[in-house]
């Protein structure tokens, strides 16, 4: 369930082809958190044939269940935004590094990891701080039946051992606890 939707302006660049047999290719180069008053597809600059094009704005959805991935992104040396394009049109914009890398596995798609603006990083950090629920990884192991930790079910199930929905903010405590 998306918990926050931002809109980002996407800027792409195309260089003059180095051979006469290839055409220009638009590659995303940066994202803007403040949207410029430009039409989608507007030419922003043309210097020595290097064209900078404003591709328009696209939504960026932040999901509360994926805050772990966002933390990994923010901890990288250069936090990134993954922009995936289909035929010069923006398909997906994400700040989840694993989703971004999965998008990049499609050879038909142009996927670029562009640097994340610091203002966006701050927004993302605030989102993570608000929604992150730390889940400790528990490795299950076999124990011998003679061990004190033998997998016998408890005779009386205690409330803390009961199943409750804990994931995300929608996780509720046991019945009667609000």
């Amino acid at each position: 369930m998306p918990k926050a939707i931002l809109r980002l302006g996407i800027v792409a660049m195309s260089r003059p082809p180095v051979t006469q047999w290839s055409g220009r290719v638009l590659r995303p180069v940066s994202v803007m958190i403040d949207l410029p008053p430009l039409e989608a597809g507007a030419l922003m600059a043309d210097r020595d044939g290097v064209q900078t094009v404003y591709l328009g704005d696209h939504e960026l959805a932040l999901h509360s269940g994926e805050t772990r991935h966002y933390i990994d992104n923010l901890m990288a040396r250069q936090p990134s935004v993954w922009v995936a394009m289909d035929n010069d049109r923006i398909a997906v914009v994400t700040v989840d590094p694993y989703e971004g890398e999965a998008l990049a596995s499609d050879p038909e798609r142009m996927v670029e990891a562009v640097p994340m603006p610091t203002t966006l990083a701050a927004r993302l950090d605030a989102f993570v701080k608000e929604h992150h629920v730390d889940e400790v990884f528990h490795k299950r192991k076999r124990v011998p039946a003679t061990s004190a930790d033998a997998p016998r079910a408890p005779r009386i199930l205690q409330p803390q051992a009961k199943w409750v929905q804990t994931r995300g903010r929608s996780g509720r405590g046991p019945l009667g606890k609000g």
Binding site: R152, A153, R155, I156, L157, Q158, P159, K162, W163, L175
Partner: protein, 219 residues
């Protein structure tokens, strides 16, 4: 149960057996499914004397007067059904071996086959559920079922009780009394606890009384 009528092999009178059947039947109907409004109303009208069992019944009646059927149903769910499992697993096999559907259930099924008792159509709980066993005890007390054909020292009502209920039923009722969600069922647990204790002692008494007589008859 007096069980001391002189020189008779019949340890208890018919009216007492009828009452025992009623006790077991009530335990069974409270533990098989959440009690409905009319059952709660009937329980609220119960009276008890000053014995431990009578006092337990009075407390249950008092709890039934103020009990909300929906809350009792929720409590039953938390205790015996739950998500994944309930707080308690009221099965003989679990209490005796630590696992469900183990050898105690197989033993019980074999004995029930000998007795000619089987699960009703549409009932899917294993037979070693406390409610099923209570129902069987009610049937044995009222004479509806007979356990005389059972072998290996389990013959008769006392033998059936000693083999299938005595090893774990007191522990189960103790657990029910301290289960975190138990509120109305705490009183049911008290009745079960007191009543199984009386049954254990009465069967023991009957066995002691019968023992010398049967030994003398063998000579």
């Amino acid at each position: 149960m007096s069980g001391l009528s002189k020189g008779k092999t019949e340890p208890t009178s018919d009216s007492q057996n009828e009452q025992r059947a009623q006790h077991w039947g009530l335990l069974s109907s409270l533990l098989v499914a959440p009690p409905k409004k009319d059952l709660l109303a009937a329980i609220a009208g119960l009276h008890g004397d000053d014995t431990a069992l009578g006092q337990a019944y009075r407390r249950l009646a008092k709890a039934a007067q103020t009990a909300d059927p929906a809350a009792v149903e929720r409590e039953f769910f938390e205790l015996f059904i739950g998500v994944g499992r309930g707080e308690l697993l009221p099965y003989a096999s679990f209490y005796i071996t630590g696992f469900l559907n183990e050898r105690p259930l197989a033993d019980l099924r074999r004995d029930l086959a000998v007795m000619g008792v089987e699960r009703a159509q549409g009932r899917h709980e294993p037979e070693d559920h406390i409610a099923s066993l209570s129902e069987i005890m009610a049937g044995l007390a009222s004479g509806q079922f007979s356990a005389d054909a059972l072998g290996c020292g389990a013959a008769g009502e006392a033998g059936f009780f000693a083999r299938h209920l005595q090893p774990w039923a007191p522990q189960f009722f103790d657990d029910l009394a301290v289960a975190p969600s138990a509120d109305f069922f705490r009183h049911v647990a008290e009745i079960g606890s007191v009543f199984t204790d009386i049954e254990i002692r009465a069967f023991e008494l009957a066995r002691k009384q019968e023992g010398p007589a049967s030994a003398a008859a063998a000579h």
